[in-house]
Symmetry: D2
Subunit: 502 residues, 4 copies
């Protein structure tokens, strides 16, 4: 969950409708092309003819178990045709598919009427009527999707097709409700095919095929891999890298989890991905007390909403416990994407509304003024915005000391208090809280890379997994929207609240 969003951030340049600039770039690279091509104009008769041929009609309810599977060539033709289209034509095709080969609404209505008529009759008749109704609610294109999954490369094709659907929906290229239905039908099929019993946990090491390691490197969205030495370290001593793979997509890691084995729960990412210099060290088991999940990435945008990361963490915990029976500290070290921009927005708003005191105390404002040598009020606010925007304060010890309590309590609030439909606004927080983790510790100066400064003023957070409590926490969060947090976090939150009089 963390993953998809991050991946999306990472890949946003491929989304053509939403970001016109990225789009132009993408076009140049031969990606999404948004103008019609000579190959196939929208709604061309070719398209209709192909769909009519390859999307077999649903068998009648009576013969549903007797129907022969359509020839494989149907699926292959559809796949080949679809791949040859540019994005505009893909949209046409999917729209047509979802509109003309969906559910037969008339038949559904009739069966609904019949069902209501049967209510006085016996149970067997009711069950029959329900089953017929259920069958009539299957869109005709579902069969096509099912058959595509059976040919070689079919599952991967459908994952990529769903990537397109999600792109279409999120970019608002189409707001057709049928497209939405197609997306949700495909999602539910993918959920079955990628059910966890069918996934294989693989540990990735320096002995793994280069092909896999290259993908691991490319997919790493959280802390980008800089070079092969960097990569080697991430699969070397005191590190573990696990991935789920799937029989139908061999050699393709679906979700990847990077773990650092440490003496205590890390409060700093550079110590994990940079300064560590024991490439050839032998692991000393006595120095391994904690497992720190410092990166989790989904690799397939098309599997959005298909729960994998959650299961991967659980499986890895089990794996680590069997390797290190004494280990009992499990925690993430997570980025906080969005904090800086949320904060900038907040500053803007307070500036407009003159509510600066909700953010910093009078004393703090005074110190900002002195440190930046500016006038009080608006000017101080602007100075602060600029500091945060540039990350310049990092270089001044005075500013650092001044800003630490401010940014920490604001960040705690951002993570704990800011919501979307009742759940944590921050996607990474939402992911770990759903999994039942505790919001455990905010870490100052935890990611001083430019990226870390830009995202979250260098702050990172540990979501800790207390194994005996995760399933309780998860239910609490999902059902009651309650966030479990440590004293450190709660205390920071209450400092924020006191100040802002919330």
């Amino acid at each position: 969950m963390i993953s998809q969003r991050l991946i999306f951030a990472f890949r946003s340049s491929t989304r053509c409708w939403r970001h016109p600039i990225a789009f132009v770039e993408a076009r140049k690279r031969g990606g999404w092309r948004c103008f019609s091509t000579p190959v196939c104009s929208r709604g061309s008769p070719v398209m209709e003819e192909i769909l009519a041929r390859v999307v077999a009609p649903l068998p009648t309810y009576e013969t549903r178990d007797k129907a022969p599977p359509p020839p494989e060539s149907n699926s292959l033709e559809f796949m080949h045709f679809y791949k040859s289209l540019d994005m505009e034509d893909k949209l046409s095709l999917l729209t047509k598919l979802s509109q003309d080969f969906g559910v037969d609404h008339k038949s559904v209505s009739e069966l609904a009427v019949k069902l209501l008529d049967t209510q006085i009759r016996d149970l067997a008749t009711i069950l029959q009527a329900e089953d017929r109704l259920r069958y009539s609610l299957i869109p005709r294109y579902r069969q096509l999707l099912s058959h595509i999954s059976r040919v070689e490369g079919g599952v991967k094709f459908l994952v990529d097709l769903r990537t397109d659907l999600l792109e279409i929906i999120s970019s608002k290229a189409s707001d057709s409700p049928q497209i939405r239905d197609l997306n949700s039908t495909l999602k539910s099929l993918l959920s079955e095919w990628f059910s966890v019993g069918l996934l294989k946990l693989e540990r990735i090491t320096w002995q793994s095929p280069c092909d896999i390691l290259q993908k691991i490197s490319q997919y790493e969205a959280v802390h980008p891999v800089r070079n092969w030495t960097d990569l080697k370290r991430r699969v070397g001593p005191y590190r573990r890298c696990y991935a789920f793979t799937h029989a139908a997509m061999p050699g393709e890691p679906l979700v990847v989890l990077h773990v650092a084995l440490t003496e205590e729960i890390s409060n700093n990412i550079q110590g994990i991905v940079r300064e560590f210099s024991t490439l050839d060290a032998e692991e000393d088991v006595n120095k391994i007390n904690a497992a720190v999940f410092y990166s989790i990435s989904s690799t397939q945008a098309g599997l959005q909403g298909v729960e994998l990361g959650n299961y991967l963490i659980k499986r890895v915990v089990r794996e680590l416990q069997s390797e290190f029976p004494h280990m009992c500290q499990f925690s993430s070290l997570s980025p906080i994407p969005g904090f800086t921009s949320w904060l900038q927005g907040l500053l803007n708003q307070c500036r407009k509304e003159g509510r600066g005191l909700e953010l910093l105390s009078e004393q703090e404002w005074r110190e900002v003024e002195q440190a930046t040598d500016c006038a009080p009020g608006m000017a101080a606010m602007d100075a602060l915005r600029k500091l945060i925007g540039t990350g310049e304060w990092m270089r001044s010890e005075r500013l650092s000391l001044l800003l630490e309590p401010v940014l920490m309590r604001l960040c705690a609030w951002y993570l704990y208090g800011e919501k979307r439909r009742g759940y944590a606004l921050n996607p990474v927080a939402n992911f770990h809280l759903q999994n039942g983790a505790t919001m455990w510790r905010l870490n100052w100066h935890a990611d001083t890379s430019p990226r870390g400064m830009a995202n979250s003023c260098g702050i990172m957070v540990n979501y800790r997994y207390f194994l005996s409590e995760t399933s309780h926490n998860s239910a609490l969060y999902l059902q009651n929207k309650v966030i479990t947090a440590s004293e450190q976090v709660l205390s920071l939150v209450s400092q924020f609240q006191k100040n802002s009089k919330l």
Copy 2:
């Protein structure tokens, strides 16, 4: 040859309700037990309590993507509990599960009413209403099944659970329509999980793990493997053995196909499974013109109705074509289970009704009388029945010559003319005809083993796969119930019809 049915015949001793004797046997062996045990009496509060706990309520439509998966322990508890039950209690449990945790009929009705109300509104509203209705038609236990599939051993558990369900239904131990619904829900889930894209084709050789080869040997239902030398031959030169396996059931072949590579399409099974003595021969590719599928067995009764054998034949044909590009003859050499007993039934009936001339011509009856030295009429009929029952005619050349045309035309009729709901009565015929094969050649003296004599008077049949015609034939058969047959078969059928004045 086709799988599930034969496997059932093979395993019939484990069905306790239908066959009282087999049942007693089974009980002794610790199999199904039909009396209540102290562990758990039917409808016990324990059972209800467990179900209430492990079968989580369906999330509301709105929160359906937000619901946390229930703890794995729920699934494990259910599996453990179910396995501890005897058959009677299993039936109770499944009945309760299907009745109390199925669809909420009231809610379905309400949503059906709402759907009908929306008919005047816009499409988006209709789609919404349909989706809600669709969601309400998901039985609550479906979620449990889904979650079980995710734990280790879960998929195998569900396959075995479906074996129980099929047993319950076919033995008429229960005629509850909910049990039927449970069965069909489970079948549709299994169909997704065992979709062909997720299956792996494995060639089995003498280098394969002993564990697999032992299973191949045990599962071989068509021509039982006598010993390890026999088995070695079946994976040795001029033979191929393929199986589908599935990631969620490692080391477990799901459906197994045995192929002989021959100079021409075999007309005799002993030549394939017995007399062949080239265990250490090198294959001479110039002597390989035909691939004869002489045995196909499904190993998992619980996958009945989940199409696998069909796909396996297709995959194997592709595999063989890539190994032997010049090969173009593909055919089964299939048993005809049920022919002898059908014939005995027919003789009985004709005897009762005095219609002997419909079976044999006057001339033929006379020869029977002479050969068996008996009186005409009833006596001759009895003599014939006895001959067929004992297979004694085999030893007399005279009788053999006399009976060959008679039995061949009767058998052709049995295969071609005898129907069940319009499709071939004989299950093996039905399997290959569904796949698009042609009923190609009846072979006299093709299986002279006691089993072959008892099943089909030693006759076997080739279903031939003309690759360019299978998909046309399959559609013709499944949709129009038309059987494609060779001239030999049609000529035998017409001889039968002429004689019997049909």
Copy 3:
């Protein structure tokens, strides 16, 4: 070492020269044929011509590093030709090879003279002279052997060729000293190629390829495997089976060790290979305190004298210690082949020489007379011989009780006291004592199979490996011919000595 001899016992029917009867049998089976064949008569010009072609002359000392390897076809031609020969012609060929393509004695002499001339000169000159002499002592055929090892299947060919050489030597088919030299040259090459660093330890399980398991079954010379269930048990729970394999002979186990994991050191073989009925049990690690090596077999007669078994035991001990860190009892449970026939020989001799009292005490003889109802003296001796020959005494409790102390002390003497060139006469004892084991315990009624009765009156022995003492024991035995034995064994030996006044 135990192994080769046992294997030899096992295969003795293939030795044609020594055992005329076995020879005739072998001939029938197409084995060694001892008459000339039309293909190639002894000393035929064909043979000479081929040898002259394929056995390249040794390069001069100066060009020894410059010589191109001969074409591979030379090696292949020799291999092909050799395999086509019958035994008589093989003998001719090997004789010719060893005589005509060995060392150039004249050149050796000359270089020896030169070396002696140099003794007054500087060290570099001496080393040069020695190196030239060393080079001249390499037989010309050594190069052929070396080149054969490089072609596919070459190493296996040489192992089999050495089997022939050993056969020739042990059957006295030839007493040519050159053949002996050829054998020792080949042995030293094989020792390098089969040096332990190049061997791979494989654990054999029911998941191993059938091909391997079949070989394991065939090679088991100590306690023959009766069927596949028996075999499955030997690789199942509470059992381990290990083998060394070699890169140049893939799929071919070279030496196989069977281990039983037990609560205490076993005193009975039937408990290990027969009565054990926990095929599907889960191993309970708390019940595993001892590892009992109950069978070790070399599979390649041609590797006689190439130390493998010794290393295999050491590797397996290390393997087991890492799997069961608490395990500290390691012992064989070994057969005593030759005891019964040694005893019969002794009885014969004593009978001739009237020295019965050296074997049994007066009291014991009396009891024998009573029990067998025979006259004293010769008659009693004959009765005893008959009893031992038939194993009939087993069925009488009285005789059993009477014979136990007698046979046990005789057997202890046989193992401990009977020597050949100062080392234990019994080959199994010699093998384990060389490895540094202690002769630990004689076990009465330990192998009551017909084979066990015939070999050793049902007695078996444990050679125990006290890990901290093996290397000391080994040196003591090999250098000083001292056998380390337990008190039980020493006490039995001293009973024997007291009685026989030795």
Copy 4:
């Protein structure tokens, strides 16, 4: 191209005695250290004590098969001790080992005397005497080496130890004849262990372990791999990469061969390692007519003199022929290291001796003068030397055209005519000619990289393998020192000869 020499060139900075500067560098990097360390002073008693302990005395001739192997700990102790030493102490240790634990010269003499005494006796006695003499010529340390090979990592240790020995010898750090003997004993042992039957051919692809690919990248000495994309291309479509590995050194490629699959034999290396841009192309088998070996590297300096590269080329040819049955063009595209420096040397000499006309014709000299705008005679010679030294002529079309015939005929002579002990001076030429290749084509502008210009003025050469002639060519070259060359080469050579009046 050929391996060991190039590798040596490549690694020369690690040789400390010969190149003082490299040595200092090496010291900094913790490599060879040439000053005594406190750990162990030369000839320290510690060293003697250890050697006395771990190098067991040779058993007597009589007990040679009875001797127990020394405990493994001896080997481990020696390995550990050796690795802890700096280079100076290593030299001391090896010197001591080779001097004090070599052959017992006195005993050799005595046996030589005995052998000469026996000359009148029978053959068996002579063979005995020879065998004793042969045994006495085995240095005592040979046993230690043999035992080291048996422990884990032992073979690799010995390969590295031989690297040290070769370093010592080539750097003249020692000129002890015993060190030379030790080296040759070790070489002959390594030759047995690395005999080709024990090597495994592996094809390296992008699916191979990263660990292997990283090594392949590091070991590539001929055309250095620039980055991972470069590496991916070298194992991608239209490329093959093969390596020999050995069971005792898992994961360690010993000799690596890079092959390009092309339409015709390449005359240019950049087209292979740079400009090729079909990373994701599908191979079109119709475009593959030739296999061009463009790089072969030995990775283990310690295996110098152990023939591997030769065998690898032969195996790969066989492999390619089975993949592409129609392929019949096999050729190297090889660098010509040393040509430029040979040419500079020649120019120097001619300048000194005023023999310029032997190199260029009068006409050519004139053109040089004009093109470089210099005076005739010395000045022109200097100008030419400068041109060649800087490679500047490349940028001028006029100079290029002028120099092409000159450099091509000089280069042809360098390759064909310059000898060392009668064999080609150029090591790459010598390698391929030994293998039986034909010196087929010199290619102008074939390697325009700085390295290619510096080595050989951009010229490369194809050594072509005509499979039916290699074994004849090889023998011709090795025995008669005859180089097989194409007309192009011979014609260039004769142009050179005509000019230089040779």
